[in-house]
Amino acid sequence: MEEEATKYIWEGAIPLQIKLHESEITSFPPPPPLMILGLRIGYLPLLVPPLKAHFSSTLPPGTDNVWFDYKGLPLKWYIPTGVLFDLLCAEPERPWNLTVHFRGSPGDVLTPCEGEESVKWSYINSLKEAAYVINGNCKNVMNMSQADQYDLWQSLLKGNMEGYLKISSRLKLGPFGEDSLPSEASETVASSRPSRIPVRLYVRSVGEEIVDIEDAPIIDSWDKISYINRPFEIYKEEGGYVSLKQALKSLLPETFNTNSSQEESSTNVKDPNAPDFEDDNAKLRLVRVQGIEPDMDIPFFWLANCLRNPEFYLHICVFISKQPKLR
């Protein structure tokens, strides 16, 4: 089942329709947009070679400084394409209409991207971070040979799942949850570390009045999105079953904490049968992982193992609505 899920992840792609920004068109008639598939697990700057080939004849003179925008919002190039799509398109747009720029990257807002090397560095860095979360150190990634690092990256670039898995399996970074089962009878103090899963949460707030999530307004600034790069932790003693809902609650404590003016109700904390967050400050409207809206009762470890990205991070897009507070 997990193998099927991995295949699904690797084959997932977003149909993109990418036009060149009008300020950079020097020819008439203007070039048509490029229709291209963006791998869900890929990154937009990796599409530059075909984009450059398509638009080069019309570009003004100068050095390339490529960046993308969706309805005016500059896109963070180090976020996987599939995540950007799930997060920014409340209503999935097919094809997804993006604009590419070859000049004038907004350096005060976007970290500069110098092509494939930047993306590769960011990717390896994320892999290192995931290894640290899972193992408490990143030795296995740091000790990868140059050849392995190269092959790993090339496999990702080309969407070559078998090639990638051959190398990544040697890193011994998964599956999640295996080491939450005690392997020895006696546990020393040092080994009672929690199990940690690398998670990246992207949270959007949607007005209460929006009935249909697909009507949520377009995001015009990254300040409207909360990015939370925090491992999910669970101690072995807490037991094996954690639902997606419980995991989200523990990752967003202030968002889902009950009002302190209410009496201490312990029922909201660990009862998986409790109604959906009704007493909390915020209401979960939508959760998307790899384009799927998972059931909230799904076991979190299983979800993480099936739907994580190749760098071992589970990226979760969350849409919430604030509850009006009664005082």
Partner: protein
């Protein structure tokens, strides 16, 4: 959850908060010449966090090669010049030309250590590039950065503001903090509250931030 992790060189988020508050108080008490470190609580989706946030120290002059050499240059000028110089003008020229820095200290939930984020500005408000910053760092710090596998500078997004900042990568911090803390005679509890001053005593050197010695004695 509070955790005593000085053996690993790391600390929990709650202990980071406690150490940050302690450190900023001691700094403000012992360092009246400098602006204060301020704790900015993290505000997320309208909810202000009680204990998640970051420390900021902004618009400060660091002890850089450039600032030190400017000082020397001004001294030489005034020696060579017999006429009475307008002190106010000299000072203005010096500080008008100075580069200013913003320093932020945030907590990494992945590595469980503090992380330094910084930006430099010219007097006209333009951001300094990484090369320009490296040019003015104390020379020994550039050496450290080049040779050490423990710290290196990169440009990354600030964890709470949506802008690019320069940072010293935290993946090696736990290792050298473990060494640093093991060499002190503090018990574990005392170590935790002193974590941030200890950490800054090392990190500060790489960016030319001087930490007054009085800060290390108990208040």
């Amino acid at each position: 959850m509070r955790g005593v992790c000085t053996r690993s060189g790391s600390l929990s988020a709650a202990d980071f908060y406690a150490s940050a508050i302690y450190f900023s108080q001691r700094w403000n008490e012992t360092n009246s010449d400098f602006p204060n470190w301020v704790w900015i609580p993290c505000s997320r989706l309208g909810a202000i966090s009680e204990d998640e946030g970051y420390l900021v120290l902004e618009k400060i002059k660091l002890q850089t090669e450039r600032n030190d050499s400017n000082l020397e240059l001004n001294n030489c000028d005034s020696c060579a010049n017999d006429e009475l110089t307008d002190e106010a003008t000299l000072v203005d020229v010096h500080s008008h030309d100075a580069h200013l820095y913003d320093l932020h200290i945030a907590y990494s939930f992945t590595y469980k250590v503090p992380v330094l984020y910084f930006r430099g500005y010219k007097s006209d408000g333009c951001h300094l590039s990484l090369d320009e910053i490296k040019e003015e760092l104390p020379s020994h710090s550039v050496e450290i950065l080049q040779k050490s596998k423990w710290t290196f500078m990169t440009q990354e997004e600030h964890p709470y503001l949506n802008t690019p900042w320069y940072t010293l990568h935290p993946c090696g911090t736990g290792d050298w903090m473990k060494l640093l803390l093991s060499s002190t005679s503090y018990g574990d509890k005392a170590s935790l509250i002193q974590y941030l001053p200890a950490w800054l005593s090392v990190i500060g050197q790489t960016v030319g931030l001087r930490v007054p010695l009085e800060l290390y004695s108990p208040s």
